[in-house]
């Protein structure tokens, strides 16, 4: 997640204080992990330096920073370009799962047992995400769905691999 671009995007809705930006970031994108205030203000400082936001005058009131930040046309252009640009597909194919299966086959260890254990672990996580979907709000449900589809992709790979273990073992040992 690009924190500067996410903050810029939130600012495009309306000028906001750092505190409000942090709150909205945590709500929509934090995933249970809070963005430190220090990071919010240092990021806003860099965006102001680069001409992507402007910082208003200090407003009266309590708190460390009472400036209201607004996005500039340069910042809006950057958000627009970023939102339209597709994310690169996962570049790596050699995941830990893959490595463990190949090594297990090479070494004559229990690859099928490992895949069973991995399936159970993935399904346990899917159960947790299903519960989040059942009890959470729509944003939580959307995020849980994203996680579930990724786990599903792994599970399909696990099933296909398990069905081909014999042939894979021969291929790995022959190389």
């Amino acid at each position: 997640m690009s924190v500067p671009l996410a903050l810029l995007g939130l600012l495009e809705r309306e000028p906001s204080h750092g505190y409000d930006l942090k709150r909205d970031y945590d709500t929509f994108f934090g995933g249970g992990k809070s963005l430190p205030f220090g990071q919010v203000y240092s990021t806003l400082g860099r965006l102001a330096r680069d001409g992507k936001v402007t910082a208003g005058q200090n407003e009266p009131g309590d708190g460390p920073d009472r400036k209201r930040y607004a996005i500039t046309p340069l910042g809006s252009g950057e958000v627009e370009a970023w939102l339209a640009e597709p994310v690169a597909a996962e570049p790596y194919l050699h995941t830990v799962l893959f490595t463990k299966v190949v090594l297990s086959l090479m070494l004559g260890r229990d690859a099928a047992g490992y895949l069973d254990a991995q399936r159970a672990t993935h399904l346990r996580r899917m159960r947790e995400l299903t519960e989040i979907k059942r009890t959470g709000n729509l944003v939580d449900a959307l995020l849980a769905d994203h996680g579930m589809f990724r786990l599903e992709a792994d599970l399909r790979w696990i099933d296909i691999t398990q069905a081909r273990l014999g042939a894979l073992a021969e291929a790995v040992r022959d190389r």
């Binding site: 899917m126 599903e152 099933d159 069905a163």
Partner: protein
């Protein structure tokens, strides 16, 4: 083996001609538990379900339900048990197309000689719980796939079964509808304390269950029994 199992299979095997479908499969399910039976096509998971439900008898091994040996009962007793203690949901609903939605839901009660008025009252109550109250007079052919499966769930639960067997209940539905149907089935089963055994190849459906077992080449792998799933 799980202590206090409601339904238990002990080393059951079943073949179709020379082709083995189940090989010494064992499992236990407790009352109120939701169990997913996963595995590739042709692995034997539907055969396992049919043996547990008393539709098939295994060639060897034992099936126990609520302290009673199920596989040695005669056809008539197994049939009665299926009607009174078990409910079924299949992939394509298998509703009777000539009958209305209310008729379909009331049917298991009418076959069990419940009075007509009581049967329809209970059917109406279940249709309401499944948000189908307005559709009682429709023919089942007029329903969407998701509505038909909700009717099938009402029909499965209307007799107050101890166990519901569901064979790929969302297999013919799109993802979102399938998810809603599964959510309803699990929620209602939990409210009623009903055990659910659901055969599925869909990880999302399995994730609605309390635990899963995997059937491969007719053999059962229970990651929780062996400890790897903990």
């Amino acid at each position: 083996m799980i202590v206090n199992a409601l339904l238990r299979a002990e080393e059951i095997s079943r073949s179709y001609g020379d082709t083995p479908a189940l090989r010494e499969a064992s499992l236990s399910v407790t009352a109120g538990e939701v169990l997913a039976v996963m595995g590739p096509s042709g692995s034997g998971k539907s055969t396992l379900l049919h043996c547990l439900a008393g539709i098939f008898t295994p060639d060897s091994g034992e099936v126990w339900f609520d302290g009673r040996r199920l596989d040695t009962l005669d056809d008539g007793r197994r049939s009665e048990l299926r009607r009174t203690a078990f409910g079924f949901v299949f992939q394509f609903g298998q509703l009777v197309p000539e009958l209305t939605v209310a008729d379909n839901v009331a049917l298991p009660l009418l076959l069990g000689r419940t009075r007509r008025k009581d049967a329809y009252a209970r059917a109406a109550s279940w249709l309401e719980r499944l948000e189908l109250a307005d559709l009682g007079g429709r023919r089942t052919g007029e329903l969407s796939g998701g509505q038909a499966q909700r009717v099938a769930i009402a029909r499965a639960l209307v007799t107050g079964p101890r166990v519901v067997f569901a064979d790929e209940p969302t297999g013919a539905l799109d993802s979102l509808t399938g998810e809603l149907v599964m959510e309803l089935l699990v929620a209602l089963a939990r409210e009623e304390g009903t055990t659910v055994i659901v055969v599925t190849h869909d990880a999302r459906v399995a994730a609605s269950a309390d635990r899963e077992i995997v059937v491969r080449d007719g053999r059962v792998t229970d990651p929780y029994a062996s400890g790897v799933g903990r």
